[in-house]
């Protein structure tokens, strides 16, 4: 079992955890993820490793509270133990000096982008990060991203903070301004789809990190499968990063929606239980 060493709130529902996991810390590269399970009835959920420290023997996870499992995880405190933690999983991000790289992220994609921005910058890239959300209140990790990027552009749908517009508007703004050698995008599937369509227009090689449904995370079940370039791939072992221009995002969104109804009713149950507990 792995102990929670520290807990810090980035915002009301975004929590940064430092977790004791010396072996995973040692093997970790940017782009890797772990599978976490909370409680004996918990499900196995993938979370990207945001940072690791070999000296401290810890890994850092940034968790955004969205469903049953992330809510349970966010309820843990310093000194608590994570029931199950396994990793590092997936293929590491391919990092080299590409030149200028645009990192476009939003929503749940912000936390997993952090280590990639860091690694790209460390290998000499000029990193321009576009951080998007529906409204200003939902922008997370702004400070961390600003520190790590050469430039940070914030986009909100309603213009309540940063620039008004979608993530794609921010990316296009950069593309029109200067030469972009590569783009990395992480976020909701629909967002990645449109970023990908945009960069395809400009022939900019683009990597998307896919957040499909997973069960085991070790290639054993195929729940995470996607079609890339006409071939079925398993995100947990072949990915999570793929050439965005080859990913069938429509199919991915359809598959993600498959469990949404059940998940929502589960969340409902969980909330009811929690409420019952506090009453």
């Amino acid at each position: 079992m792995n102990k929670v060493i520290s807990k810090e709130y980035f915002s009301a529902n975004v929590v940064k955890f430092e977790i004791e996991a010396p072996l995973i810390a040692k093997a970790h590269r940017a782009g890797h993820f772990v599978i976490v399970r909370i409680g004996t009835k918990g499900e196995r959920v993938p979370l990207t490793i945001a940072e690791s420290s070999v000296e401290k023997g810890t890994i850092t996870l940034v968790v955004q509270q969205v469903g049953v499992s992330s809510t349970k995880l966010c309820a843990l405190n310093e000194g608590d133990y994570i029931t199950d933690l396994v990793g590092p999983l997936g293929q590491a991000t391919h990092i080299e000096n590409f030149g200028t790289v645009v990192c476009a992220c939003g929503g749940v994609g912000t936390a997993p982008m952090l280590p990639i921005v860091k690694a790209l910058r460390e290998s000499g890239n000029r990193v321009l990060t576009v951080l998007a959300a529906r409204t200003g209140d939902l922008i997370i990790m702004e400070e961390q991203m600003r520190k790590l990027s050469d430039e940070l552009i914030i986009m909100t749908d309603d213009g309540s903070y940063g620039n008004r517009g979608l993530v794609t508007n921010g990316v296009e703004m950069i593309i029109q301004r200067e030469k972009v050698d590569r783009c990395v995008t992480i976020g909701p599937a629909v967002m990645m789809k449109f970023v990908s369509l945009l960069t395809k227009k400009y022939s900019i090689p683009t990597i998307a990190s896919l957040n499909t449904i997973m069960v085991d995370g070790t290639g054993m079940c195929g729940a995470c499968r996607v079609t890339v370039g006409g071939k079925t791939k398993f995100v947990c072992v072949d990915g999570p990063e793929f050439d965005a221009h080859l990913v069938d995002f429509d199919e991915m969104m359809m598959r993600l929606a498959g469990y949404r109804d059940i998940e929502q009713s589960d969340m409902h149950k969980h909330e009811n239980k929690c409420n019952a507990g506090t009453r």
């Binding site: 072996l23 995973i24 093997a27 399970r37 409680g39 009835k41 918990g42 499900e43 196995r44 049953v68 499992s69 349970k72 029931t83 199950d84 933690l85 396994v86 990793g87 590092p88 999983l89 069960v215 085991d216 070790t218 290639g219 054993m220 079940c221 195929g222 729940a223 499968r225 996607v226 079609t227 079925t232 072992v237 199919e251 359809m254 598959r255 929606a257 498959g258 469990y259 059940i262 998940e263 589960d266 149950k269 969980h270």
Partner: protein, 474 residues
């Protein structure tokens, strides 16, 4: 009792749960023999001078000896005999394809009679011991301090560990999942193999000093080199055939189409059908399972239990060629499973939400025998059927888990991705690495995996003794 009298006793029938009721719950289907039934059945064994049954058993259980113990009413003694050769008797008694192994070689079969129910008796003895609370822990040799690592906690890894622990080695098993047991836990459903039974056998290994480390993937969390550095002198790879195959036909990525591994893992490992569990599972009213093996039978019977009104097996050959155990096919039929044989799916279509709604089946017929000796299915031109479904479970086989083969430099791997080892010693081209079970054979059986584990243990012990690190030098 005279041989003639023994031969006249009819083979016992396994008491079974009522199919109407059991197809709605997760209770075990086979209820087990009573002591009286077991003793009578044991009398049928003629205690042959050259017992064929032992040859038919991949781990060479001393079958006549345990059966005669049952006949004498020495049930615990019978269990002890089983444990001398098999690390998991209560498991084997439930899931082995006895009709193709020990029972196929029984003298009764040669006399055109039904074989002694060796599997039922094995289960009886193992269950008796467990229920008696007097589980015997096999004797272990004095600890020699030599560290041995095992990759994977399926039957191959467990049987290897048991034998090495008996020989005095310090054994650590690394398992990628959060549960110990491999397919026994995540694949085979509880109505066929209750989890408690697997746990008792694992506890028995624990009391022999075997250490288990879950959530640890060798090749990811730790490397083989890390293990060497940590002082492990021998490594046994029993990482199984975890990778599901798909057919690559149109519509296979629709919502509601999944591998049997996904379906069974959700239900068995993650307990998804329990409302308390956070893991969801899609359920269907009209469920088709593609395939004819044990995995297919387990999936279709699980679907029935989760409320499928129509639960169908779609298999491209005829029933005769089905690789599933006979008993599973019989049980499935009793539970109202439809068998659509000589049918092969060619395409799935979905509704506006992307949920599968129909499957198009190609009608097949049997042609010439293929390499496996089974008559190969060929398409009947132009004959197709469109069937309504809302869930499809693809159970057309698995490939070896690529993690170890891809992460260990110099390991010799076949074109199918299986680890190549010496047939007798199970030693790979890297001398300290031995392997067995599905990672060597592709999809096989529990008992073959266990047999591999045993042979590897024997050979590794011998190899280690021959090394300069031999026991005497420590």
């Amino acid at each position: 009792m005279k041989a003639k009298e023994r031969a006249e006793i009819r083979r016992v029938h396994m008491p079974e749960a009522n199919p109407e009721i059991r197809s709605r719950n997760t209770e075990e289907v086979n209820l087990g023999l009573t002591a009286e039934m077991a003793v009578t059945e044991a009398c049928r064994c003629l205690d042959c001078a050259r017992p064929g049954c032992i040859e038919g058993c991949p781990v060479e259980v001393d079958i006549p000896s345990f059966i005669k113990n049952i006949e004498r009413g020495e049930f615990l003694e019978a269990a002890k005999v089983l444990k001398e050769t098999s690390a998991l008797p209560a498991v084997c008694g439930r899931v082995c394809p006895q009709e193709k192994q020990c029972e196929a070689k029984c003298i009764h079969v040669k006399m055109k009679k039904e074989a002694v129910a060796i599997g039922y008796l094995e289960r009886f003895a193992a269950d008796c011991e467990r229920e008696s609370g007097q589980v015997s822990v096999p004797e272990t040799a004095p600890a020699n301090g030599i560290k041995i690592a095992v990759v994977g906690s399926g039957p191959a890894g467990l049987s290897f560990s048991g034998d090495m622990a008996k020989a005095g080695y310090s054994v650590t098993v690394f398992e990628a999942l959060h549960e110990i047991g491999g397919v026994l836990k995540y694949g085979i459903p509880v109505f066929r193999l209750p989890n408690e039974i697997v746990d008792v056998e694992i506890d028995s290994l624990r009391s022999m000093g075997v250490k288990f480390v879950n959530n640890c993937i060798v090749g990811k969390t730790v490397s083989i080199d890390d293990l060497k550095e940590d002082g492990f002198r021998g490594i046994f790879v029993g990482s199984g055939a975890g990778l599901p195959r798909f057919m690559n036909i149109r519509g296979e990525n629709l919502v509601g189409v999944m591998s049997s591994n996904e379906y069974l893992t959700r239900v068995n490992l993650m307990d998804a059908s329990n409302p308390e569990s956070d893991t969801p599972v899609l359920t269907g009213k009209k469920v088709a399972v593609i395939g004819g093996g044990n995995t297919a039978m387990d999936s279709v019977r699980t679907a029935r239990r989760l409320g499928a009104e129509r639960a169908m097996i779609v298999y491209r050959r005829s029933e005769e060629e089905m690789p599933a155990r006979l008993e599973e096919v019989k049980h499935a039929k009793e539970e109202g499973i439809e068998f659509m044989t000589l049918r092969n799916p060619v395409e799935y279509s979905g509704n506006e939400h992307g949920r599968v709604s129909h499957m198009l089946l190609q009608v097949m017929e049997l042609g010439e025998p293929d390499a496996s000796g089974r008559r190969s299915p060929v398409e009947v031109p132009g004959e197709t059927e469109l069937i309504e479904v809302d869930e499809v479970i693809v159970s057309v086989g698995v490939s070896p888990n690529p993690l170890i083969p891809s992460s260990v430099k110099g390991l010799n791997v076949s074109k199918w991705g299986t680890v190549i080892v010496n047939d007798e010693t199970m030693q790979s081209d890297i001398p300290m690495i031995f392997a067995g079970g599905d990672i060597v054979r592709g999809g096989a059986t529990v008992i073959l995996a266990m047999g591999d584990g045993r042979r590897a243990a024997k050979a590794m012990d011998k190899w280690l003794r021959e090394q300069k690190f031999s026991t005497s030098n420590l």
